[in-house]
C-alpha cells in the first residue's frame, strides 16, 4: 500500500526524522493562503500522487510570488501523472540546499533482509542513478538479529557525509527510519533528497513510503491512510472475502484456486487466442460461501461470455467447491456457459456432486481452456 508524501512526512515527524511538512491545498485560494506564511521567500508546489516520476511529469514547480503560486497550483491540480489525477498539492518553502543525496530502505528478496541504499547523487530517481552510474550506489544489508546498531548507522552515514556532525545526524535518521520500517511494517521508505542545508542541518526534503499489505492487520493507523482507486476498491472488497481479484478486459471469466495456477490459466487463455476478463484466485482455504461470492463477482461483469472454473484441490477441497457451485446456482441466475475442471483432493466426491449440474466438465486444463476460448468466440 502506497501513501502520499505528506502522509509519509507525518510519520517521519512521529519518528523524529527531521522534515519539512508544508501545507496541503486542494485549490488556488488555499494555496495562496499557505504561501502567505512563506512569502517573500520562494515556495515549492508539489503534486501529491501515489506514483513516482512526479518531478519529470511536471508535478513539482517553484513559485516566487503569490501569482505564480496560484498559476502553478492551477497547472498541477488536475494533472494526470501515470494514470493518477492530481487533486491536492503540498506547498513548502523552497529550501537552501548545500548538498543533496539519496537514502532508501527496502526489502532485498534474494538476501532475505532489509537493505539500506545510499547515494551521494541525490535528487534524481534511484533507477536513473542505477542505470547511468551504478558505482554511485551503496547497498548495506541489515542483519535482522541486531538491526542497525550505532556502528552500522554510522558506517552507512559515512557513505553520504564526511563531517562527523552530519554523519551523526544522518545516523540518527537511519536508525529512526529502521524503527519506523519495523514498527509499521513498511516495505519501502525513500528519502530523495536527503539534504544538508546551509546551516549544516540534515533534513528529509521528500518522503515516499510503501507498506506490506500482509501486515496492515497490525496497523489500523496505516491502513486508514489508504486512498484507493475504484479498481483497487473492487480488488480490496474481493480480498476481504478471501479472494485475489484483478479486473482485466476480456470475455472469459476465470475462477481458479492458487495464484500460480490462475496465472497459468490466463497465460494459456492468451496462448490459445482467448482474452481473460479477470484474474480470480479463490485462495487456499476451502469454504462454500467463498465460491458463492466468487460466482457473484464473475457474473456481475457484463463482458463475461463464458466462465472457466479451474480447481486443483490441495488445501481447497473439490467437494467444498462443488457444493459452493450448487449453492451459488440456487442464488444467482447464470446465463453464460460454465466450463469446469475439478481435480485433486476429494475430486471424486466433488465431481459426483456436480454430475447433474449442466456444467461442461473437463479433466484436462488445456482442453478446458480451449473449450472456454471457443465458447467465448461464439
Amino acid at each position: 500500500m502506497k501513501i502520499h508524501e505528506f502522509q509519509a512526512k507525518e510519520l517521519f515527524e512521529q519518528y523524529a526524522i527531521p522534515t519539512v511538512r508544508g501545507k496541503i491545498c486542494k485549490d488556488q485560494d488555499s494555496a495562496a493562503i499557505a504561501y502567505s506564511e512563506i512569502k517573500p521567500k520562494a515556495a515549492v508546489i508539489k503534486a501529491q500522487v501515489l506514483t513516482g516520476g512526479r518531478g519529470k511529469a511536471g508535478g513539482v514547480k517553484i513559485a516566487n510570488n503569490e501569482d505564480e503560486v496560484r498559476q502553478k497550483t492551477k497547472e498541477i491540480l488536475g494533472m494526470n501523472i501515470k494514470g493518477n489525477i492530481v487533486n491536492k498539492v503540498m506547498i513548502v518553502p523552497a529550501y537552501p540546499i548545500k548538498r543533496e543525496c539519496y537514502l532508501g530502505m527496502t526489502i532485498d528478496r534474494n538476501k532475505r533482509c532489509v537493505v539500506v541504499i545510499t547515494s551521494k547523487a541525490g535528487g534524481v530517481e534511484i533507477e536513473e542513478i542505477a542505470a547511468f552510474a551504478p558505482q554511485k550506489i551503496n547497498r548495506y544489508l541489515i542483519d535482522a538479529s541486531i538491526g542497525i546498531p550505532d556502528f552500522k548507522a554510522r558506517n552507512i552515514a559515512l557513505s553520504l557525509f564526511d563531517e562527523m556532525d552530519q554523519v551523526k545526524q544522518t545516523a540518527r535518521v537511519i536508525q529512526n527510519m529502521y524503527r519506523l520500517m519495523l514498527e509499521k511494517d513498511a516495505s519501502l521508505i525513500e528519502i530523495n533528497p536527503l539534504i544538508e542545508d546551509d546551516k549544516g542541518i540534515i533534513i528529509a526534503l521528500d518522503g515516499k513510503m510503501t507498506f506490506d499489505d500482509n501486515a496492515l492487520f497490525k496497523h489500523p493507523d496505516i491502513a486508514h491512510l489508504a486512498e484507493l482507486s475504484d479498481e483497487e476498491i473492487k480488488e480490496n472488497e474481493a480480498k476481504t472475502k478471501g479472494f485475489s481479484y484483478i479486473q482485466l478486459t476480456g470475455s472469459i471469466g476465470c475462477m481458479v484456486n492458487g495464484a500460480g495456477l490462475a496465472m497459468a490459466t490466463l497465460d494459456l487463455i492468451k496462448l490459445y487466442g482467448g482474452d481473460p476478463a479477470n484474474f480470480l484466485d479463490i485462495g487456499g482455504s476451502s469454504n462454500p460461501q467463498k465460491v458463492i461470492e466468487a460466482m457473484q463477482l464473475l457474473t456481475s461483469d457484463p463482458k463475461v461470455k463464458v466462465i472457466l472454473i479451474n480447481i486443483f484441490g490441495g488445501i481447497t477441497r473439490c467437494d467444498d467447491v462443488a457444493n459452493g457451485l450448487l449453492a451459488a446456482f440456487k442464488q444467482i441466475k447464470i446465463s453464460v456457459p460454465i466450463v469446469i475442471r475439478l481435480t485433486g483432493t476429494n475430486e471424486d466426491e466433488g465431481n459426483k456432486i456436480i454430475a447433474d449440474s449442466g456444467f461442461i466438465r473437463s479433466e484436462d486444463m488445456t482442453q478446458a481452456i480451449q473449450k472456454a476460448v471457443e465458447l467465448s468466440k461464439i
Partner: protein, 290 residues
C-alpha cells in the same frame, strides 16, 4: 533417496487443532507420514486422530522425537511459531500459512538460519517425497516415486505439472513448493544444489513466476553448478504490470520481473522453457534421452 524429508522424518503439526491443521494432519498421517505430535497451547493432553497434542513444540521434540514441523497457525502467530520450533530443536520447518508479514518472516528466518534450521515457505504447499513422506497439503495421490525433482513457487500449479509428469510415467524424487511470498526460506539455489547432490534425482523441473529476479539468479546458478537437466515453466506471461497476482511476490514492478525476462535468462543458459505446463514431460524426456 530424496531431499529434505524421508521415512525418518518425524513431524509435529503446529496449530493442529485448527480446521486446516487437523484436516491435513489426518491426510499426512493417512499418506504414511510419521506425524508424531501436534501442538496447541492449552490443549496439551488432547489428541487428534490419535496424534497426541502438546502445549509446546519443546514437549513434542523431547517426548516424541519430532525433527520436522509443519505450521498452520494464523499469519499473526507465524513468527512466534517458527522461533518456537527453532528453539525446541526442530531442524526443518514447513510453513503453510499465507499472509505472513514480510518483516516477520525476515526476522524468524534469520533466527532459524543462525541455528542451522531450514525453512520452506511460508505460503506454500509443502514437501512430498512420494511414498515416503508428505509434509504439506499436496494431494498425495497425484505423485509417484521416481527421479525428477520439482521446485515451484506455486501451489496448485505444481499439482498441475506433477499430474502431467505422473501421467507421462515420470516419477518424482521430491517435490517442493517454496511459496509465493517475496521473502521465503529455501529457494531455487539451495534446492537446485540439493537435487544436484541427490544420487536418486536425475532431472529437475523448476516452476517460476513473475516478480523479483530469483529465476534469473537460478539460471546463472544452473549454468555454473548444475549438471542435471532442468526444465522450466514461468507463470504470469499474461499478467498486467504493477498488480499483485495473488501471491505477494508475484508483481511486475517498474517493468522488471516479467515472464519474458525470465524466459530469456533460462534460454541463454540452454535451459528449455515450456509455454504450456503440459509440454514439460516431453521437454524433460528429450533432455534425458539427449
Amino acid at each position: 533417496m530424496s531431499i529434505l524429508i524421508n521415512k525418518d522424518t518425524r513431524v509435529v503439526v503446529q496449530g493442529i487443532t485448527g480446521r486446516d491443521g487437523s484436516f491435513h494432519a489426518k491426510k499426512m498421517k493417512a499418506y504414511g507420514t510419521r506425524v508424531v505430535a501436534g501442538v496447541s497451547p492449552g490443549k496439551g493432553g488432547e489428541s487428534i486422530d490419535e496424534i497426541p497434542v502438546y502445549n509446546s513444540v519443546w514437549e513434542a521434540v523431547h517426548t516424541k522425537g519430532a525433527n520436522t514441523s509443519i505450521i498452520f497457525v494464523p499469519a499473526a502467530f507465524v513468527k512466534d511459531a517458527i522461533m518456537e520450533a527453532v528453539e525446541a530443536g526442530i531442524k526443518l520447518i514447513v510453513c503453510i500459512t499465507e499472509g505472513v508479514p514480510t518483516l516477520d518472516i525476515i526476522e524468524a528466518r534469520r533466527y532459524a538460519t543462525l541455528h542451522g534450521v531450514q525453512i520452506i515457505g511460508p505460503n506454500c504447499p509443502g514437501i512430498i517425497s512420494p511414498e515416503k513422506s508428505l509434509v504439506g497439503i499436496m494431494p498425495g495421490n497425484i505423485f509417484i516415486p521416481g527421479h525428477t525433482g520439482v521446485i515451484s513457487r506455486s501451489g496448485t500449479l505444481t499439482y498441475e505439472v506433477v499430474q502431467n509428469l505422473t501421467k507421462a510415467g515420470i516419477g518424482q524424487s521430491t517435490a517442493i513448493g517454496v511459496g509465493g511470498d517475496p521473502v521465503i526460506g529455501l529457494f531455487y539455489k539451495e534446492l537446485l544444489q540439493m537435487f544436484q547432490d541427490d544420487p536418486e534425482t536425475d532431472s529437475i523441473v523448476l516452476i517460476g513466476e513473475i516478480g523479483g529476479d530469483a529465476e534469473q539468479i537460478a539460471a546463472e546458478y544452473i549454468k555454473n553448478h548444475i549438471t542435471k537437466p532442468v526444465t522450466v515453466f514461468i507463470a504470469g506471461a499474461a499478467a498486467p504490470a504493477e498488480k499483485r497476482m495473488g501471491h505477494a511476490g508475484a508483481i511486475i514492478s517498474s517493468g522488471s520481473g516479467t515472464a519474458q525476462e525470465k524466459w530469456k535468462a533460462f534460454e541463454q543458459v540452454d535451459v528449455p522453457v515450456a509455454k504450456n505446463p503440459s509440454e514439460i514431460p516431453s521437454l524433460l524426456l528429450s533432455q534425458l534421452k539427449g
